[in-house]
């Protein structure tokens, strides 16, 4: 395969437009899932809640007010083809330049502080984005971009489980995590779950699983079945949309898994709110 050069300006423009898009549009499956739930709901309060969530999705692009005031941390998974060379700035700088410009132009809330512990002064332009880059085969550049809000992220958990733990133990850990989150994480939720790998790979898989389009089912039957089991278990907790009860605590469960050490069974649950803002782009 021949070497392909990609101009940094093209990536900058693409990331800028992607941020603009996700600010006003959730994953396209969210609206239809909420509409379906609304049609099946009999409780007046829960109907009112679901109707408000749907109205917000319709209104946001029309009035150019973000879906949620927390436009979050920008998370980008980069898959760079081994035959690709980016001309100009390195990928992290391009993404951050686009983020800073989009934050100013779109009046996004400044949500990132300089230092986590000693100096929580606001950076005022939302950088740095959190960028994970992987080299893959080919000559394409794939970007998975998400605005990840703080409320749902705060309720995410990882546990280094015992290798002798059962499938039911894993389900119980996820259900416990969702129960602790309650209404704080803005249900109905999307759950990204990492199983296996080591400490950091497990958390990364949970995040990347979230960024799969809703409706993507694990290619392995056992994990697809587990996704289904966890969704049913979580929806039996009675938390419901925005904590108002009912059976719509989560809209989707998406698992990624990887080989792991004989001593380990890491499980990570990355929680996402219903304002699930992400997009995948190939250049």
């Amino acid at each position: 395969m021949e070497v392909r050069f990609i101009d940094d300006q093209l990536i900058y423009n693409t990331v800028y437009e992607a941020i603009k898009y996700v600010t006003y549009h959730p994953d396209p499956a969210i609206t239809s899932l909420l509409q379906k739930a609304l049609a099946n709901e009999n409780d007046e309060l829960r109907k009112d809640v679901l109707d408000s969530l749907i109205q917000n999705i319709e209104l946001s692009p029309r009035v150019t007010i973000p879906l949620c005031q927390d436009t979050g941390t920008l998370v980008v998974f980069v898959e760079l083809g081994n035959c690709c060379i980016i001309k100009g700035k390195p990928i992290d700088s391009i993404i951050n330049d686009a983020l800073i410009k989009a934050s100013a132009d779109l009046y996004l809330r400044a949500s990132i502080v300089n230092d986590p512990l000693f100096n929580r002064s606001n950076i005022n332009n939302n950088h740095p984005a959190i960028v994970h880059t992987r080299i893959v085969e080919g000559d394409k550049l794939k970007l998975k971009i998400a605005q990840k809000g703080g409320g749902a992220e705060n309720m995410s958990r990882i546990r280094m489980m015992l290798p002798t733990c059962t499938v039911q133990d894993v389900i119980d850990f996820v259900v416990e995590t969702v129960a602790i989150a309650g209404a704080k994480a803005c249900p109905p939720l999307i759950l990204g779950i990492g199983i296996g790998g080591n400490f950091e790979q497990c958390a990364m898989m949970a995040k990347e699983a979230l960024l799969k389009p809703i409706g993507t089912i694990s290619s392995e039957t056992r994990y697809a079945k587990l996704e289904h089991c966890i969704l049913s278990a979580v929806n039996s907790t009675g938390i419901g949309a925005q904590g108002m009860g009912g059976d719509l605590t989560a809209l989707s469960v998406q698992i990624m898994h990887a080989p792991c050490h004989i001593a380990s069974l890491p499980v990570a649950v990355n929680i996402q709110c219903h304002a699930h803002r992400h997009i995948e782009i190939e250049i």
């Binding site: 006003y24 007046e44 309060l45 009112d48 809640v49 408000s52 969530l53 109205q55 917000n56 209104l59 946001s60 009035v63 150019t64 007010i65 973000p66 879906l67 949620c68 005031q69 927390d70 436009t71 779109l106 009046y107 996004l108 809330r109 400044a110 949500s111 929580r120 606001n122 005022n124 809000g149 703080g150 409320g151 705060n154 309650g182 209404a183 704080k184 803005c186 925005q242 904590g243 108002m244 709110c273 219903h274 304002a275």
Partner: protein, 167 residues
């Protein structure tokens, strides 16, 4: 689901009509405060200063709005997680606060204090900023602009929707 039309200031008769799960359409002047603003508000009163607004007449909205774009009344408005403010809430209720708006559950101690003082905690739906922004009449930075989104904003709201969560 009963819907209440509520104009601030709230009075005991209003609160006595509320049941958990009722909808409230709130109108009046309210103030935002998140973690950093709560810390500063409590520091102010602990040092013997009076607050620049009367807690009993208003509501505290756990919210950090996005900046107001030119030509608009406000940016994106919505609740943040209330439980992070639990450590300050009892102090605020003891000093007169009767109405809080946020999202998610409160600690058992806060729930107990809300009930003991006949206060009320309303839940606003999270992640519906565009919709909530429609009920904002005006939005101005009121205290500590250096805190950015964590500053105290003075909001005038008209029929802002929320739900009774603790009463």
């Amino acid at each position: 689901m009963t819907t209440h039309i509520l104009s601030l200031p709230i009075c005991i008769q209003d609160i006595e009509k509320f049941s958990i799960g009722d909808k409230v359409l709130l109108s009046g002047t309210i103030y935002t405060a998140r973690d950093a603003a709560h810390k500063k508000l409590v520091d102010l009163v602990s040092n013997g200063n009076t607050l620049p607004f009367n807690l009993a007449d208003t509501a505290i909205f756990y919210c950090g709005p996005s900046p107001t774009p030119p030509g608009k009344v406000c940016g994106a408005i919505g609740p943040t997680t209330s439980s992070r403010m639990d450590v300050y809430t009892i102090n605020m209720i003891e000093r007169g606060l009767r109405l809080m708006i946020g999202k998610g559950e409160r600690s058992p101690e806060v729930v107990e204090t809300i009930r003991a003082y006949k206060a009320v905690y309303l839940s606003c739906l999270g992640g519906i900023s565009a919709l909530l922004s429609q009920s904002i009449v005006s939005c101005e930075t009121f205290l500590w602009p250096e805190l950015g989104a964590e500053a105290v904003f003075k909001l005038v709201v008209n029929n802002m929707p929320a739900y009774v969560s603790v009463v």
